[in-house]
Symmetry: C2
DNA sequence: AGAAATACGGAGAGGTTCTCCGTTTCGCGT
DNA sequence: ACGCGAAACGGAGAACCTCTCCGTATTTCT
């Protein structure tokens, strides 16, 4: 009596509990496994660790990048949340610089996992992460542009692509020195060259 | 009677003919197959097309990237030859810009194959390609630096890494517009920002 | 409780990488 | 010219991977 659809969509069945449970287990297992073996880790292995069949994995995440995206989703959300804070606390270009550094670190610490997801995602379904990141970048960039501390002809897409490129090409270097330098170079370009060198 | 080692290393047997023949066949087949199917193409398929067993393929090229490197070797050699010509024919920074554009095009048209090889190569054995490219870049870069048209704190390694990054991150985009823009941006940075924008 | 809908699991098809070792081929000394 | 031994060949096969299919089990709703 009236226990039907308690807060759910009227015409539809409630989502099953095991579905949510399995999804969470899969994401946890994937997080662990990707961390150990990189983004190429075996999906079978992930299913095994999650204690579910491979069919279940594929039903939940049809492609590898869908799973990558799910794993990254939290971190990406956090990362993009940072953008808001920086925007409030820092000057336009300090905020942009700081966030891009954080983004690069993020992409690198995930062994290019972030980059991989973003790249594959362009033609797949994890548009959420992609969009979230672009929006964060756009927010910071346009503010800097309005203040004249970033070149006006730069799009958020290009900026992100450039940083993703750095992350990808330096992904197997554990040392962050080079990627830091490269980002510094890019930032100089972004700001229309405030100064020539810095060392 | 003294037909031994005609021009070869004294203590060693001459390289067999079938070895060279198979090697060439493999490279030709790989060239073809990579062009069709990208750098992830099946190595079995390549061996099949070359008319040799898979064991032979693996004996000649222990890793995928060794094969990639061999395939690229010619093109890389050509590419690096271009550097010499540009160096003779153009101003320091025109030469650098032109060559970097060629390098980017090269990396992109090989479906990130060049980038992949360079990246994997860092820890593998195709150091030749890597070194060749670095030397070409170094030659052009230091000339520009001496003339003051390129920032002095830039290393060839960083420059190449940056361009490889662009190639990698835009690899699946068939359209060259974005990668052109990104390279332009990087070049602005390299030249210490001759001008702010260009659109 | 019973029915209907939904998700589960894991066997298995088809693909891949890479190894191993019996067989074949080639270069060299005689 | 010929035979020997080193070196390379080939391809079967082990071990792995992705992804599908469908009989079975679980859960929700009435």
């Amino acid at each position: 009596m009236m226990t039907a659809t308690p807060g759910g969509i009227p015409g539809e069945r409630r989502q099953r509990n095991d579905v949510r449970r399995n999804r969470e287990r899969l994401i946890a297992a994937a997080q662990e496994t990707f961390a150990e073996a990189g983004p190429e880790a075996s999906l079978n292995e992930i299913a095994r660790r999650a204690g579910v069949g491979s069919g279940t994995l594929y039903r939940h995440f049809p492609t590898r990048s869908a799973l990558l995206a799910a794993v990254l989703s939290d971190r990406v959300r956090t990362l993009c949340g940072t953008a808001e804070k920086l925007r409030a606390a820092e000057s336009a270009d300090d905020a942009l610089d700081a966030w891009l550094r954080a983004f690069l670190a993020h992409a690198r610490t995930n062994q290019g996992l972030g980059g991989a997801a973003i790249l594959e995602g362009a033609d797949a379904l994890d548009l959420d992460c992609h969009r979230l990141i672009l929006e964060a970048a756009a927010g910071l960039l346009t503010r800097a542009q309005r203040q004249g501390t970033a070149r006006a002809d730069l799009t958020p897409e290009d900026l992100i692509q450039l940083v993703v490129g750095i992350a990808l090409s330096t992904a197997r270097n554990d040392d962050t020195e080079q990627s830091d330098r490269l980002l510094g170079l890019v930032l100089d370009a972004v700001h229309g060259a405030r100064g020539g060198g810095h060392g």
